[in-house]
Symmetry: C2
Subunit: 341 residues, 2 copies
Amino acid sequence: MKKTFICCKSFVAKISLLAILLIGFSCQQPAEPRPDFVLVIHGGAGVIEASRMSVQQDSSYRAVLNEALATGSLVLESGGSAVDAVIAAILVMEDSPLFNAGKGAVYNEAGIIEHDASIMDGSDLSAGAVGSLRSIRNPILAAHRIMVDGRHVFMVAEGARQFAIQAGLETVDPQYFFDQNRWDNYERTRKTQLEKEFPVQSKHGTVGAVALDKSGNLAAATSTGGMHFKREGRLGDSPVIGAGTYADNLSCAVSATGHGEFFIRNAVAYDIAARMKYAGQSLQEAADEVVMEKLAALDAGGGIIAVDQQGNIAMPFNTSGMFRGYVVAGQKPVVKLFAGE
Amino acid sequence: MKKTFICCKSFVAKISLLAILLIGFSCQQPAEPRPDFVLVIHGGAGVIEASRMSVQQDSSYRAVLNEALATGSLVLESGGSAVDAVIAAILVMEDSPLFNAGKGAVYNEAGIIEHDASIMDGSDLSAGAVGSLRSIRNPILAAHRIMVDGRHVFMVAEGARQFAIQAGLETVDPQYFFDQNRWDNYERTRKTQLEKEFPVQSKHGTVGAVALDKSGNLAAATSTGGMHFKREGRLGDSPVIGAGTYADNLSCAVSATGHGEFFIRNAVAYDIAARMKYAGQSLQEAADEVVMEKLAALDAGGGIIAVDQQGNIAMPFNTSGMFRGYVVAGQKPVVKLFAGE
């Protein structure tokens, strides 16, 4: 009996050891201590290839991405919130003509620019979003004002514009958004009435940012001019909390870019958070499965950026490139454009 | 050694038996075979109490809910799709003045009626949604046209209205939506500039439907006039795929009703699907945890209706009542208004 008892005890001990190891692996912490802060940004995913880009274009993109990272990380470095950091980073990209957001937005079918944007605070799940917004210089600020106001989360079209104006945001003349290349692309599409593949210089994407601040809070934000030649009033995933943007301290902060219709139907941003919460996946596993398997299988081009509360970063994309970059506290900023870079 | 071996084998056998039992419980099938079809509807959740309702009001609500169930289940009975069934059921409720959708919608802050609606097909995740839509008699048909067209998923405001008109949908004069009680409520709120609790006769909610058809496909749809005295251009969860509406044959079909801002921030409809997919929860467990625990803890009043591919139904709500009903093939329709009914 004694021998038997020992045997069973030893078996139980082995099982327990295995269980501990399994739990250990599934609750794996990053090898390094949590960084003080992290900022990750994107400027859209798509046909972004070195062979299609001039040296000048390449360096222009990198310069703006670096400026956005520097501006956002300064906020975090000085103890600012993740919310303020993602706004600061996005403002730089909204004010650049290079990206399809703010100043650089593409035209819709009617030749009008309509912006979408959203922001979410992972510390309390507060959120703000605008869709089909006209003539406001920085749509991300309109989304933020809605979040701070707190009465609503999501506002669109003329009502959103009036709210933004009452909140004191800067309005601009349509001429502010004018870009000859984009207008030429619009005219070309209008004449053929077909959506075509555009050369990379007109295929700038949505912008987004996610951050972890010194207090351990997460935030995510996204801003876009939407799909080239979209129908008037069309919203993509960018203003949809749960699709283009999500942040929850208990899981992660996500900002997406890509073919918005697919991203809405697959609730992409929340899906990544849900996989971490309910399936115990790591940030990288969750992000990779959604972008590189689920969306790729649907031929839904795009990518996401994400950060979790441990400071882990994921930036998967299933296209030939994604304008992206990150800063981890105490390390040099990193900016990349192409796959395999 | 032999004894030891037997002991371990017996231990392993016991563990295996336990594992099988556990797996058995967690993958529990309904006791009855899958019904041929199921239709579940709601007409909003809120302060719905027998003591606040006249006999006449009570029977009016039940009559419309029964008519919606009869109309939708006729589609399913005759082999129609879940998509067509949820539309049929919602049309009945949109055309009734009793519910805050279609004809019976509440006024926004500007005294204007703006509708939101969405629909999703669980068989291929196709979806359509409209927000801040004016003067279209049946917003659910506009959402459906967007889904069928396929180019976009989500359209708002004037662009959505123009799309609906081009699709041949019926437009109506503002007078069509006029209701003296609702207008009086609007005027009362406008004068005080405060949102107040309204008596039950003006607190009708969003409408929604979910269905399982004979082919085993799921669909969900939701339609609303939104929050009473909302700001112009405000969207709630009803037009947000993943928040107010979601359907996926692999998990469930969900339609929500309640304080939309909270439902957006918690991605309610997709959260229920995600819990089933990733945490192995049953439909009832997932729906109860989201509505009765997560949302209730946030003081976010509302409820959801849901059905899965096995024909299981869940209808939790954390308010004093929810207009609701269901039909299971071969059984009599059931309609309920109050908690504990």
